[in-house]
């Protein structure tokens, strides 16, 4: 780990939303440090709070409680010009190409607003040159065709490129890609990811990549880290190569075993891990202790359903995990109720 402070650190972050007169706790106690220049993937099923975490990292959403520390200083300590500069250093690329660009603006407008607003270029000529460079950087060539087009005249992939170019106008330090490629065709998805990797190397960017597609996460963050989330908590975080090859938390293992592979022999010999129940608990009544215990095949009564597991290291694993039996190195046996479940499928 480099000695410089993490670019963004979340400490004890909680976030709830009010939905028709009910308070719904989406994030409970997130502790996460995003190192400068790294690629961090946040994976999890829908409703696990990964998008909310991404928005808090990008400073677009305030936490209900807990602290957001940027470059070693809490966000509240930034005032005036410094706060404005900080605001521009954290950018986001959204999931839906159809909603991320304002239908009333041409591509030229979209890119020139931030450039003009923050006087990143001098005069009309400088503005045009910068727009030309940005469009070329995201492979939207020839720029001449793109500038006067409206978003509805572009394909999904092209729109995401405009989204990325827009984020780059203010020379950000960190970009949160919130499912940025999941609504684009498979073949174009990889070009976008490769472009993001290239831009990261060229511009020294930190990228937080949020996705529900584990295979994509493995490919994109192979050199970086991956964090697995379940019901508003991080259950496992570590270097991608360790987490994928040697998963520690039962939920991660279940996920990795459940994902089909684009390789017939490989995917048909994978042994899925049968969970004790299929239905996901509601956020309004999260199970006591480890939230996964009602579904976990290796559930140990008295341990898993009483105290709250914290992220900690565990024997035989480099990554951190929030599962008490694993932290204590206990062998994981399939719980007897699981056996009963198999008796009558």
């Amino acid at each position: 780990m480099s000695d410089t402070p993490p670019i963004v650190e979340l400490r004890g972050i909680r976030r709830s939303f009010v939905k028709d007169r009910q308070l719904i706790p989406v994030l409970q106690d997130i502790n996460l440090a995003v190192q400068a220049d790294e690629i961090l993937c946040i994976v999890g099923e829908s409703g696990c709070g990964k998008t909310t975490t991404g928005k808090i990292i990008a400073g677009l959403l305030d936490p209900s409680s807990g602290e957001v520390i940027v470059n070693g200083r809490p966000t509240e300590s930034y005032q005036g010009r410094e706060k404005a500069l900080l605001r521009r250093q954290l950018q986001i690329v959204h999931q839906d190409p159809f909603a991320s660009l304002n239908p009333a603006h041409t591509i030229g407008d979209i890119l020139s607003f931030p450039l003009k607003r923050h006087r990143m270029t001098e005069g009309g000529a400088g503005l045009k040159r910068r727009i030309w460079e940005l469009l070329t950087m995201v492979d939207l060539t020839p720029p001449g065709d793109m500038v006067n087009k409206y978003p509805h005249q572009l394909s999904g992939g092209q729109r995401q490129r405009v989204s990325i170019a827009r984020a780059l106008t203010v020379n950000p330090k960190l970009i949160v890609a919130d499912e940025a490629v999941s609504m684009v065709d498979v073949s174009i998805r990889i070009t976008l990811l490769k472009m993001l990797l290239r831009l990261r190397a060229e511009l020294g960017l930190t990228i937080v990549f949020i996705t529900h597609d584990l295979a994509l996460a493995k490919y994109f963050a192979w050199e970086g880290r991956i964090a697995v989330m379940y019901l508003g908590r991080i259950v496992e975080i570590g270097r991608t190569q360790e987490v994928i090859a040697n998963p520690s938390h039962p939920y991660t293992r279940a996920l990795l075993a459940a994902v089909p592979e684009a390789d017939p022999e490989l995917t048909r010999h994978k042994q899925a891990i049968r969970l004790r129940s299929d239905d996901i608990p509601r956020l309004t009544d999260i199970p006591r202790g480890c939230a996964f215990h009602p579904r976990c095949p290796y559930f140990i009564p008295g341990m898993c359903d009483s105290d709250l597991p914290e992220l900690a290291s565990a024997p035989g694993f480099d990554q951190q995990v929030a599962c008490i039996p694993v932290q204590r190195g206990l062998p994981l046996h399939v719980h007897e109720s699981q056996v009963a479940a198999e008796a009558h499928p």
């Binding site: 677009l60 404005a84 986001i92 909603a99 239908p103 931030p114 009309g124 720029p143 409206y150 989204s163």
Partner: protein, 395 residues
């Protein structure tokens, strides 16, 4: 507000002609004579109708349209497809002005194309133009026939009212006056009041709606409760009471009163629209880019609401006219003659409602109001397309 009647005078005609010279010269210079001529006519009409207020802006618009036909910017880097290095981005002030005028011209032509594409909408537009032309230019050609004409009474007839005849195409009213002159002069107060009322209601609704939508919290609660409260009281009876409350002589006060009463429905719609737009990704991206609250309201949220507001403005004008005519019809608002609504009211009051020969006096204002309302509704449809960038540009 500037009443139209006072301005539509010969001096306005002169101003219009002078302003028309600019588009004509541009037309000749850019070899677009027909477009230049249209430019001149536009300047004359607007100059004549509203003097300088109409003439001067028309110069810019028409010049832009003429330019857009001829404009090719050889040197604009984005159209010349050249590679980055050998492209010069320099552009002088004059060229920039030229380019912006060409863009203005293009957007006007785009609006015209969108307008003509929707048949029903265009029909509505024609209807409205007809009424406005009659209202502004009619009084010059047809003198207002104010005094009673005893001599026109048909011998032995019960009342002075006369059915349409060759000499009086729309017949005579109960004082033997020419109904046609009343029709031509009678539209102004009614139409102006309705438009003013519509604008007041829309402005209040948009301001309060965006406030409630953007700020939310307490402001939202207060505004919404007031709106619900006003909505519960049936609008028309309340208007009757208020109309009696305030002794209205001019249409302007009536318009303000109507505006105060009819903003809730539109406010609720605007608030819902703002709430939904606020959640859009591109608004959040604008927040991330630190483009400022003003930019978000004016450039991100508002352009997507313009077509919505324009359509609702038209509907509010329609409801306003409904209420104004209703009040006059019940005799609760003593508007001055000549006025379409008063013609109906006096028709009923004088008991001529059931006389067949009173058809001219009664039917003409009724048909006029019905047609005006109808063209408003139809025109609203093409407004939707004019302001919606997707529909207009994506042809």
């Amino acid at each position: 507000m500037i009443g139209f009647a006072t301005i539509a005078t010969p001096i306005g005609l002169l101003i219009g002609l002078v302003c028309g010279l600019v588009p004509l010269a541009a037309g000749v210079y850019y070899k677009q004579i027909p477009v230049g001529v249209i430019g001149v006519i536009a300047c004359v009409i607007s100059g004549f109708a509203c003097g300088f207020l109409g003439g001067v802006p028309m110069i810019l618009l028409t010049y832009g349209v003429v330019l857009s036909y001829a404009y090719v910017n050889r040197q604009d880097p984005f159209t010349s497809r050249a590679a980055l290095i050998d492209v010069t981005f320099e552009e002088s002030r004059v060229e920039q002005f030229q380019r912006s005028m060409a863009n203005l011209g293009n957007s006007i032509r785009g609006a015209w194309r969108a307008l003509t594409r929707n048949k029903a909408g265009f029909l509505g537009f024609l209807g409205l133009t007809f009424f406005l032309v009659v209202m502004v230019f009619g009084p010059l050609f047809i003198k207002y026939d104010g005094q009673a004409h005893m001599e026109r009474r048909v011998p032995g007839a019960f009342a002075m009212v006369a059915a349409p005849s060759a000499e009086f195409p729309l017949g005579l009213d109960w004082k033997g006056r020419d109904v046609l002159s009343h029709m031509v002069h009678g539209g102004q107060t009614l139409i102006i009041t309705s438009i003013q009322a519509g604008i007041f209601a829309t402005v209040i609704a948009v301001v309060l709606g965006s406030l409630a939508g953007l700020v939310g919290g307490v402001a939202d609660q207060i505004i919404s409760t007031i709106a619900n409260f006003i909505l519960t009281i049936p609008a028309f009876p309340l208007l009757i009471v208020l109309a009696a409350l305030v002794d209205l002589d001019s249409g302007f006060l009536l318009a303000v009163l109507f505006g105060v009463l009819n903003w809730p429905t539109l406010m609720r719609a605007v608030r819902a629209q703002v709430l939904s737009l606020r959640e859009r990704d591109y608004v959040q991206a604008a927040v991330a880019l630190d483009l400022g609250l003003w930019h978000i309201i004016a450039r991100e949220v508002f352009p997507n609401m313009v077509s919505y507001i324009a359509v609702n403005l038209i509907f509010t004008i329609r409801i306003a006219m409904y209420s104004v005519v209703g009040l006059v019809f019940l005799g609760l608002v003593p508007l001055k003659e000549p006025d379409w609504a008063i013609m109906i009211f006096t028709g009923r009051q004088q008991g001529v409602l059931f006389l067949p020969q009173a058809a001219g006096m009664l039917l003409s204002p009724i048909v006029a109001i019905a047609l005006f309302q109808l063209s408003l509704v139809l025109f609203a449809r093409s407004l939707e397309e004019i302001f919606n960038p997707r529909l207009r540009a994506g042809v």
